[in-house]
Subunit: 380 residues, 2 copies
């Protein structure tokens, strides 16, 4: 009998059975009326979740494909842009911009830092930029940036604001229009509770105008004007990821029926519970001990214990999948996701497995208190 | 009760229940051992199906994304390339090449023509090219090109050979190595019997070397060197389409277990049956009446009957989904797919619905003979 597995990563996140079953129905044609109905409904629901009146286009691509499109479509080679990063995914913006030959000013804060709006302001005062590339929830560190403030700084200096909300959208508040976010990118496999393979991008009038200027970086599969034109005709430029869109429509329906605020509150309380449990064991947090950072909680591996071994033991011995650190944080931290189809018992399960794994690895932790601390923090 | 629907399009094609169920299992993490095992197995199975020793990379993208990658990764802006087309999908190569600023010589044959190797030779003798872009099965017309001959011509003139095998791979014989195809692109939603959203690309040593030269067209999400490096580490550069890869592994297992030759024979006989049925009604074929063109059969709408109305009536009244003509062929033809998870009773069902729809539309056809003609042609 295969073991019962628990997914506690910040992406992919567990997919609700309703969504899995919707995607397991016999496939339909992407140019027929039944798909068109679901596609249009899904596009409208995305706008509700993005809190925007802007068009939201979908690509058969993972989140990075959406990010790629946000660089190539609004910029011409040589454009000066600012990337403000504090972790692995923030730095990806700089790599994409470099790949397209942009002139990148990279404000590279330490991994784990919370991006400082004053640094962005100082950079933009020195040198204006066509666009500013930001990361809302830095999944590699657990830090959630204050996008409202950062976006305001960028807007003040006349830059387009492009935000990676891949792990934040539907997880924590994202106010695309109210915060003046020109471009918001999301991936399907985070708080939207789907398998990976679908990216969605919201595009403001200003970003759309930029994408229509001559001399943009080349793009074809990820071309915005083609996607926007097709969306206007209630279809896609190329064959869409049919099952993922049908699944997303069901997932968005579930999210909107429950209400975004209810989802946000759940994630906030799951974050509190997760942090409380980790602290109760006597471990230190790496991610901030604050309600805003409610997407993924990063804990520090105790002195002398390899963080990768914690993840490996939890997975191999207890069938609980969390993730370790990326890049320079590899071995030093472990990360537990709590956005999407999670409830408090998932968190306590993860904490129990963490406790057992740490004991297996000889860590000196406080036992038997994590679960109760988590339950208390969740309900308080 | 919802009506029972029949999919008879050349893509998406019906997905076998085994594959649907595999994709409906609880999601797993893309960096864990269980996914890695399936990913490596799937990559190896792809090589068997491609008949190649080359690496085959996968992108979370539809087939067009794979085509896009084959233009941007092996070319530098300004490169002279030849596109030899005879339909909608062939012409797409020219659009992609133009988007990346290549110098495109476009041998644009009439839609429905079979690409003539002599025309390609004449063009390459006049002006050498870095690469030649070809289409194996032109899904818009039903014509299957003689890729072996075309590739030989391109090779003779020192060009890289890039082939869109999106609807041909696993449908009809494709000999990547034996025919010297440097790059073969496939999409998941055709003979591989999966939903759309996954592209696979095989890359010869020469194509790989081209992609590593400096000054390539920009690419990030669809970058080959990054994908190939990750494949060497048994992983992907970015979050893969987890469920589609797991599903593809199951589908490829089914295909290889049955045997590629058996699949090819089935598609050939389904093609014969489909053509026999259409002809028996007194209709004319648009696609060639030949065994090689075994992917999709295109028939001409009878004088005075709109081909789109045939498709619409079949779908709306009889719940049988076929497709009409694209571009200049819209209204003039109808197309029935027969690659992947189809058997003879699917073909006879499609023919029955076609016959009923034509009668509804007032066409003067021969009734009551299509099914028997199809059955006879299938078994002969």
């Amino acid at each position: 009998m295969p073991e019962k597995k628990y997914m506690m990563t910040p992406g992919p996140t567990p997919v609700p059975p309703e969504v899995l079953l919707a995607m397991a129905e016999p496939i339909i044609h992407h140019r027929g009326a039944d798909f068109r109905h679901a596609f249009v409904e899904c596009s409208e629901r995305l706008k509700e979740v993005f809190k925007t009146k802007n068009d939201v286009i979908m690509f058969a691509a993972s989140g990075t494909g959406g990010m790629d499109s946000a660089v190539s479509n609004i910029n011409a080679p040589g454009d000066r842009v600012v990337v403000h990063s504090a972790g692995n995914f923030g730095e990806r913006w700089a790599k994409i911009a470099a790949a397209y030959g942009l002139d990148v000013a990279h404000i590279k804060e330490e991994w784990g830092a919370t991006p400082d709006p004053a640094k962005l302001a100082a950079e933009l005062e020195k040198n204006p930029a066509k666009a500013v590339y930001l990361t809302h929830s830095e999944t590699s560190t657990g830090v959630v940036a204050d996008i409202q403030k950062l976006a305001a700084v960028a807007k003040e200096h006349g830059a387009l604001v492009v935000v990676d909300c891949i792990s934040s959208l539907a997880a924590i508040p994202v106010e695309t229009d109210a915060w003046g976010l020109d471009v918001v990118v999301v991936g399907s496999q985070k708080a939207l509770m789907l398998p990976p393979g679908l990216a969605a991008v919201s595009i403001s009038d200003a970003a759309r105008a930029a994408s229509e200027e001559p001399g943009r970086c080349p793009s074809f599969f990820l071309n915005w004007p083609a996607a926007l034109k097709a969306l206007g005709n209630e279809t896609t430029a190329f064959t869409p990821a049919v099952t993922l869109i049908l699944g997303m429509n069901v997932a968005l329906g579930m999210i909107l029926e429950e209400g975004l605020e209810t989802r946000f509150d759940m994630h906030k309380r799951l974050g509190r519970a997760c942090r409380a449990g980790i602290k109760a064991m006597g471990l230190e947090l790496f991610s901030p001990d604050e309600d805003r950072s409610a997407v993924v909680t990063a804990g520090k591996a105790p002195e002398g214990i390899d963080g990768q071994k914690i993840v490996g033991t939890m997975r191999d011995k207890y069938a609980v999948q969390i993730v370790g650190g990326q890049g320079i944080l590899k071995g030093h931290i472990f990360r537990i996701g709590h956005i999407g189809y999670y409830d408090i018992f998932d968190i306590t399960t993860a904490l129990e497995a963490l406790e057992l794994a740490l004991v297996d690895l000889g860590a000196d932790i406080k036992r038997g208190v994590a679960v109760n601390s988590a339950l208390a923090a969740f309900t308080e």
